[in-house]
């Protein structure tokens, strides 16, 4: 007969000398199929029950897709970039301006937005070589704010006060709800793509070299790592990835304005996603992105205007409460020593 035994973390089923294990503790659900199914089913179900949640999912995917390259950049350069939204602005404005003034289709603006983000990252890449610690933080923090000022000064071009509109939509399926659904799948696809690319890089030999740079730059230099090359390449690559999200937002909403993405509030949200999910953990960024987006949505529905005060306070408390700075992902991940667990150092 079928023999079912329930253990602490698993259900063991025995039948005719065969044995099946079924893990019940979530931290052992390593099988990515579960998560893929959840990612595919969620928008489809939410479409029928609560269409607003589809929109929340899109913003969750966007947060995660900005935080993932930021995690890569943090490990690879050994510094925390406080202005990832600068590249969102660059990618978004390039896509928006080209689409409005030159009538380019979204598929043509994508490579240009990526190239432009990479170009600006290359322009500012000496920062990762020269500036350390607080100076790096201040300089990167300044970039989006300066860009925001520029959108107001050259308001004729950037429309800093009202925002650019009339950008060609990525897809138009005839109906806002359907568009949301499609956007949910496209954003999830971009997010998963970023996740796979970043995870692949971090698990490879280059990830190990980045880990060494994150731990001690000088020693890494002293064992033969060309640290400047690695740092600049990571900085440029990750910035280009963040630029893609700017492009996506411009073509998804059909409007783009710097005041939404360039101020400190948006930057703080990205950094909180990145910290709440788990310090510089790529999978943690996804957990953090979903957690932050859905918490925000929940608080807006429950608290109304008071949400603006409660939301950051709850997140800051979580930073202290969650296990040893490992964030939400720390609740889930299996701990074993082989795995590299990046520690964020802010150096003097």
């Amino acid at each position: 007969m079928v023999d079912i035994e329930i253990k602490r973390d698993r259900i063991v089923i025995r039948w005719k000398g065969k044995k099946w294990d079924w893990m019940i503790e979530p931290r052992y659900w390593r099988n990515s199929i579960y998560w893929t199914i959840a990612l595919i089913l969620f928008p489809a179900l939410a479409y029928f029950f609560s269409p607003g949640l589809v929109n929340t999912m899109v913003s969750a995917n966007i947060y995660a897709a900005i935080a993932i390259p930021l995690a890569l950049m943090t490990v690879g350069t050994g510094r925390i970039n406080f202005g990832p939204n600068f590249y969102v602005g660059v990618g978004g404005y390039v896509a928006a301006l080209l689409s409005i003034h030159m009538g380019l289709s979204p598929w043509l603006t994508l490579p240009l937005a990526v190239l432009m983000s990479a170009f600006f990252a290359l322009l500012f890449s000496p920062l990762v070589i020269m500036a350390k610690g607080l100076y790096y933080v201040l300089l990167t923090l300044l970039l989006p704010l300066v860009f925001l000022e520029i959108t107001f000064i050259y308001t004729g071009l950037f429309k800093g006060d009202v925002g650019l509109f009339g950008i060609e939509l990525l897809f138009d399926l005839g109906g806002a709800k359907l568009n949301f659904l499609a956007a949910a799948y496209v954003s999830a696809a971009i997010m998963v793509l970023f996740l796979l690319i970043t995870n692949k890089i971090l698990k490879s030999r280059y990830g190990l070299i980045m880990a060494a740079i994150n731990d001690d730059e000088e020693v890494a230099h002293g064992i033969g790592v060309n640290i400047n090359k690695v740092k600049v390449l990571t900085f440029v690559g990750a910035s280009a990835m963040i630029g893609v999200m700017g492009w996506f937002m411009a073509h998804y909403f059909g409007t783009f304005s710097g005041i939404t993405y360039l101020p400190m509030t948006y930057m703080l949200k990205i950094l909180l996603v990145f910290m709440v999910g788990g310090r510089a953990q790529v999978f943690g960024c996804v957990a953090g992105g979903y957690f932050v987006a859905f918490l925000e949505e929940f608080l807006i529905r429950v608290m109304g205007d008071f949400q603006a005060v409660a939301f950051p306070i709850i997140l800051l408390i979580l930073l202290f409460v969650l296990p040893r700075g490992e964030g939400l992902f720390g609740l889930y991940r299996k701990r074993h020593y082989r795995e590299y667990m990046p520690q964020i150092h802010v150096r003097r």
Binding site: R205, A211, E218, H221, G222, I223, G224
Partner: protein, 248 residues
């Protein structure tokens, strides 16, 4: 024996302070060169200059007939120069094995080396220094002696020609210190190294070194076999002060 590494007229100034003043010496292939001097004599500055962390103000460093004076540290490592640190500087969040793998991957420009090759290589070096059983432990959880050995393994994994050892005995108890010294001597024999050894403890260098260079206030005051240097009046004066004869 031929000169493997030659330093000619090295000068390093920090503002008005001359840390190294016109020092020249050469290291011959296969020898152990001791480098001594009282506190603040400029020993560690010399290593930093030679390994590329500090730029020289004047002078020339030639390694195996390649001029490495202006090379950045990682290129010097590729040329065959490795160092350990006075205070161990491990990668705290990497395991022992992973840090040695990194050194093996980056130590030379090996185009065909896969990650697995590097792992096999690293295992050998870890076994050599006696850390094989600790391979999966994070470096921050190792003891001080184990960190020293990990640093030695990391330096050996870059397959150097010259190994700079910066005070291997500092902070170790006598038992650990003697096994550390034995390990360095063993490494020199097995991997055909040339060693540039900075040490505070004279007794070790007298035993292990073939030649000794002594510096004081950044200037070379003596060079020769251990016996010559130890009995040199200027060296004794540098350590003990001018009136040492009154108490001898």
């Amino acid at each position: 024996m031929s000169d493997l590494l030659t330093c000619t007229n090295i000068t390093k100034r920090f503002g008005g302070l001359v840390a190294i003043d016109d020092v020249s010496f050469s290291i011959q292939k296969g020898e152990t060169l001791g480098f001594i001097g009282p506190n603040g004599a400029g020993k560690s500055t010399m290593v930093n200059v030679m390994s590329g962390y500090l730029k020289t103000d004047a002078g020339k460093i030639v390694l195996d007939s390649v001029d490495i004076t202006t090379m950045p540290p990682h290129k010097r490592v590729h040329q065959g120069l490795a160092r350990t640190y006075q205070i161990p500087r491990p990668f705290p969040e990497l395991t022992a094995l992973m840090s040695v793998i990194t050194a093996s991957l980056c130590g030379k420009d090996r185009k065909n080396q896969s990650f697995e090759d590097a792992a096999g290589d690293a295992t050998h070096y870890l076994e050599f220094v006696g850390l094989f059983s600790k391979r999966n432990i994070l470096a921050r959880d190792l003891t001080f002696f184990e960190l020293r050995m990990l640093e030695l393994a990391r330096a050996l994994a870059t397959t150097p020609k010259v190994l700079f050892i910066d005070e291997v005995m500092a902070g170790l108890n006598p038992g650990e210190a003697s096994s550390a010294v034995k390990m360095v001597v063993k490494a020199k024999e097995q991997f055909d190294l040339t060693i540039f050894w900075i040490e505070h403890v004279m007794a070790v260098l007298v035993e292990a070194a073939d030649r000794i260079v002594a510096i004081h206030y950044g200037q070379k005051i003596a060079e020769g076999t251990p016996d010559e240097v130890v009995n040199n009046d200027t060296v004794i004066e540098a350590y003990l002060g001018k009136g040492w004869r009154n108490y001898a």
